[in-house]
C-alpha cells in the first residue's frame, strides 16, 4: 500500500469511524457474559452437574469427552466438567480477594506516602520499587516456600507482591490533589489528617484504582493458577484450575484432562482483560483516543 493511502486512512476526515462504544462494546459485553457464566457456574455447580467434585468412579477413569462426561474424566474417574465448575470457586475467589486486599493496601500505603511526604514517602516508595524489582511469581514462590504450600498461603504471598502498582498510582493521584484549595479548606476546618486523607483525598484516586484493579484481575488469575500448577497453591484434591492442569501434565494422550481446566483459565483471563480495557476506556478518554 502506498503511503498516501496509508495517510488517507488515518487522517480524521478520511477515516470512517464507528462509535467508540461499538468498537469496545462487543468485547466487553462478551467478557461480562463469560465472567457472569463462570460466577453462575461456580455458585450453581451442585445443581448444574450430576457429579460431586470428588466423586470417583475408577472404572470410568480417563474417558474421553462424551455425552455422559462432556469434558471427559481424569485418572481417578472424576468428571472433569463438574470439577471445572466447582474450580471457579477457588480460582476466582483467590484472584478477586488478592486484587481487593492488595488494591486496598496499596491505595492506603500510597495515599499515606504521598500525603505525608518527607522521609516516610521516600522510605515507602523505595520499598515499593524493591518489591517491584522481583518478577511477581518468583517472589511469590519464595514466600510460599517460606509459608508452606496451600491456597491461603498462596493468596497471602500474592498480596505481598501485588500491592506496589496500586501504591504508586495512588501516590500520584494524591500528589495531584493534596495542594488544591478544597483540601486546604478541610485542613482549615480542623479535620484530622486521617480524616482529610480518607474523605477529601483518597476518593479522587478511586476511579483509577478501580480501573487498575479490573485490568489486574486477569493477571491475578493467571498467577494464582500458576502457583497452584507449580504445586504451591491449592493441593491435589482441590479442583483448582491450575492444579487440575498440573494433574494432566503428563497425560499427553489424554489431552482433555489438562485442556479443559486450562481453557477455563484462559477464557476467564481474556474475559477480564476485555472488561478491564473497556472500563479503562470509559473512565479515561485519553487512552481511548490513543489506543484505537
Amino acid at each position: 500500500m502506498h503511503v498516501d493511502a496509508v495517510l488517507a486512512t488515518r487522517t480524521p476526515a478520511g477515516r470512517r469511524r464507528r462509535p467508540a462504544v461499538w468498537r469496545r462494546g462487543p468485547a466487553a459485553v462478551l467478557g461480562g457474559l463469560v465472567v457472569g457464566a463462570w460466577v453462575f457456574a461456580a455458585i450453581g455447580a451442585p445443581v448444574l452437574t450430576r457429579y460431586g467434585l470428588d466423586e470417583q468412579h475408577l472404572v470410568e477413569a480417563l474417558q474421553p469427552p462424551s455425552l455422559h462426561h462432556p469434558f471427559g474424566t481424569d485418572d481417578l474417574g472424576r468428571d472433569i466438567l463438574a470439577r471445572v465448575l466447582y474450580g471457579g470457586r477457588y480460582t476466582l475467589t483467590l484472584a478477586l480477594s488478592v486484587v481487593v486486599v492488595a488494591g486496598a493496601a496499596g491505595t492506603i500505603t500510597g495515599g499515606v506516602s504521598g500525603y505525608l511526604g518527607g522521609w516516610c514517602d521516600e522510605g515507602l516508595m523505595r520499598v515499593t520499587e524493591l518489591v517491584m524489582a522481583f518478577p511477581a511469581i518468583i517472589l511469590a514462590m519464595a514466600i510460599v516456600v517460606a509459608l508452606g504450600p496451600g491456597l491461603l498461603n498462596a493468596g497471602f504471598s500474592m498480596i505481598l507482591v501485588w500491592w506496589p502498582p496500586y501504591a504508586r498510582l495512588a501516590r500520584g493521584e494524591v500528589l495531584a490533589v493534596k495542594h488544591l484549595e478544597y483540601v486546604e479548606a478541610a485542613t482549615a476546618l480542623g479535620q484530622t489528617r486521617w480524616g482529610i486523607l480518607r474523605r477529601a483525598i483518597l476518593p479522587n484516586a478511586l476511579p483509577r484504582m478501580i480501573v487498575l484493579a479490573t485490568i489486574d484481575v486477569g493477571g491475578a488469575i493467571a498467577t494464582g493458577a500458576g502457583l497452584s500448577f507449580l504445586g504451591l497453591g491449592a493441593t491435589p484434591p482441590t479442583p483448582e484450575w491450575g492444579a487440575m492442569v498440573s494433574s494432566g501434565r503428563d497425560l499427553l494422550a489424554q489431552w482433555w484432562v489438562a485442556t479443559c481446566p486450562g481453557l477455563a483459565i484462559f477464557l476467564t483471563v481474556i474475559a477480564f482483560n476485555f472488561i478491564g480495557d473497556a472500563v479503562r476506556d470509559s473512565m479515561d478518554p485519553r487512552s481511548r483516543r490513543r489506543r484505537s
Binding site: 500500500m1 502506498h2 503511503v3 498516501d4 496509508v6 495517510l7 486512512t9 488515518r10 523505595r126 520499598v127 520499587e129 524493591l130 518489591v131 524489582a133 522481583f134 518478577p135 511477581a136 511469581i137 518468583i138 517472589l139 514462590m141 519464595a142 514466600i143 510460599v144 516456600v145 517460606a146 509459608l147 508452606g148 486477569g218 493467571a222 498467577t223 493458577a225 500458576g226 500448577f229 507449580l230 504445586g231 504451591l232 491450575g242 492442569v245 498440573s246 494432566g248 501434565r249 499427553l252 494422550a253 489431552w255 489438562a258 485442556t259 486450562g262 481453557l263 483459565i265 484462559f266 483471563v269 481474556i270 482483560n273 476485555f274 490513543r290 489506543r291
Partner: protein, 337 residues
C-alpha cells in the same frame, strides 16, 4: 552520556542492597519451618538435634548478625548451601544459568522481531485483516496461561504430530558440546558440531515459542499503539509529501521513533520472560534456573529459592539500568529532564 550512565549505575547500588534485605527478611521473618522440613517429624522432637541444626545453619544468632553474615557471604559470592543437595547455591545457579539465557534470548529475539513486524503492519494497515489478526493474537498472547500453552503445544506438536523431539535440551544419544559459554547453540557452533547444533535447535523451538508468546502480545500492542501515534506526526506527512517510498517513511522515519516505548517495556518483558521460564522449563525439562526454582520450591529448599529470587532480581536491576540508558541513547531529549 558517560556521566549519565555513571549516575544511573550508582542509583542501582542501593536497590541491590535493598534486594538483599528483601530476600533476607523473606527468608527469616516468615515462619518457614526449615527445621521441621529438613529434619523430619521424628528428629524435630529431639531438642538437641534441633539446636544442632539451628547452630549449624546460624539460625540461633540475632537477626542483624544473621543479615551481616548473609550480606558478607553474598559479597564473597556465597549464596548459601542448598539444603537439598548440600552443594553451594551459586555453583548450581552457574550451571543452570546458561540454559536459561539461551532459551530466554531465543524467545526474546523471536518475540521482539515478530511483535515489531506485526505491530507495524497492524498500525499501517489499520482495521485490515492483518490488524484484526494482530490484535487478536496479542489479546490471546497476553491472556493465555503459560503452563497451559506449554502443555498444549507439547501434546500437539510432539505427541500428536511428532514434529518436535521430546522435552530436554538434546536427544538422548548426543553428547553436549564441550562447554565454552554453556549455551549449546553457541558452543556447538563454535566447535563446528553441526549435528549437535541442529538437534539443539530442534529442542529449543517449542519452549522458546511458549516464552515468546507471553512477550509477543505486549510487544505487538506497544508497537502498534506507538506506531499509530507516530504516523500521525507532521514529519511523517512531510516525509511522505516529499515523495519518499512507503518503506522509507515507515521504517526509517516512523519506526525508529516508535521503538522507544518498546524499549521502555524491556523491564516488564524481562519479568514476563522470567515467570515464563519457570513454567516452560518445568514442562520441557529444560535444566535452567526456572526449573531449578521449581524443583527447589518442591523440596522446600529455601536457600536455593532465595538464590534464584536474588539472581533474578539483580538481573532485573541490570536490565532496568540498560533500559534507561537505551532510552536516553534513543531519545536524547530525556537526558535533560
Amino acid at each position: 552520556m558517560g556521566r549519565y550512565i555513571f549516575r544511573r549505575a550508582l542509583l542501582a547500588v542501593p536497590t541491590l542492597v535493598g534486594l538483599t534485605i528483601v530476600t533476607f527478611f523473606v527468608s527469616h521473618l516468615l515462619p518457614a519451618d526449615m527445621v521441621l522440613v529438613n529434619l523430619g517429624d521424628q528428629a524435630v522432637r529431639s531438642p538437641e538435634l534441633v539446636a544442632a541444626f539451628k547452630h549449624r545453619w546460624g539460625l540461633d544468632r540475632p537477626l542483624l548478625v544473621q543479615y551481616l553474615v548473609y550480606a558478607g557471604n553474598l559479597l564473597r559470592g556465597n549464596l548459601g548451601t542448598s539444603i537439598a543437595t548440600h552443594r553451594p547455591v551459586l555453583a548450581e545457579l552457574a550451571l543452570s544459568l546458561p540454559a536459561t539465557m539461551e532459551l530466554a534470548t531465543a524467545a526474546m529475539a523471536g518475540a521482539v522481531a515478530a511483535g515489531v513486524v506485526l505491530g507495524v503492519l497492524a498500525a499501517v494497515l489499520r482495521d485490515s485483516k492483518v490488524d484484526v489478526f494482530a490484535r487478536g493474537l496479542s489479546a490471546v498472547g497476553v491472556a493465555i496461561p503459560t503452563f497451559w500453552f506449554a502443555i498444549l503445544l507439547l501434546a500437539l506438536v510432539y505427541f500428536q504430530l511428532g514434529w518436535a523431539p521430546p522435552p530436554g535440551r538434546l536427544s538422548a544419544g548426543l553428547a553436549p558440546p564441550e562447554p565454552i559459554t554453556g549455551m549449546y547453540l553457541v558452543d556447538s557452533l563454535l566447535r563446528g558440531q553441526v549435528d549437535v547444533l541442529v538437534d539443539a535447535l530442534r529442542h529449543i523451538v517449542l519452549p522458546a515459542i511458549v516464552i515468546a508468546m507471553v512477550c509477543l502480545g505486549y510487544v505487538t500492542r506497544i508497537t502498534r499503539a506507538s506506531m499509530i501515534e507516530t504516523l500521525a506526526e507532521d514529519y511523517v506527512r512531510t516525509a511522505s509529501a516529499k515523495g519518499l517510498t512507503a518503506w522509507a517513511v515507515i521504517v526509517r522515519h516512523a519506526l525508529r521513533n516508535s521503538l522507544i516505548p518498546v524499549i521502555t517495556i524491556g523491564g516488564t518483558l524481562y519479568a514476563q520472560v522470567m515467570s515464563g521460564t519457570v513454567m516452560a522449563e518445568t514442562i520441557y525439562s529444560w535444566p535452567g534456573i526456572g526449573r531449578y526454582a521449581f524443583t527447589s520450591a518442591g523440596s522446600m529448599d529455601f536457600p536455593a529459592v532465595m538464590g534464584v529470587a536474588l539472581v533474578v532480581g539483580a538481573v532485573y536491576v541490570a536490565v532496568d539500568l540498560c533500559v534507561d540508558v537505551l532510552v536516553v541513547w534513543a531519545n536524547p531529549r530525556v537526558r535533560y529532564r
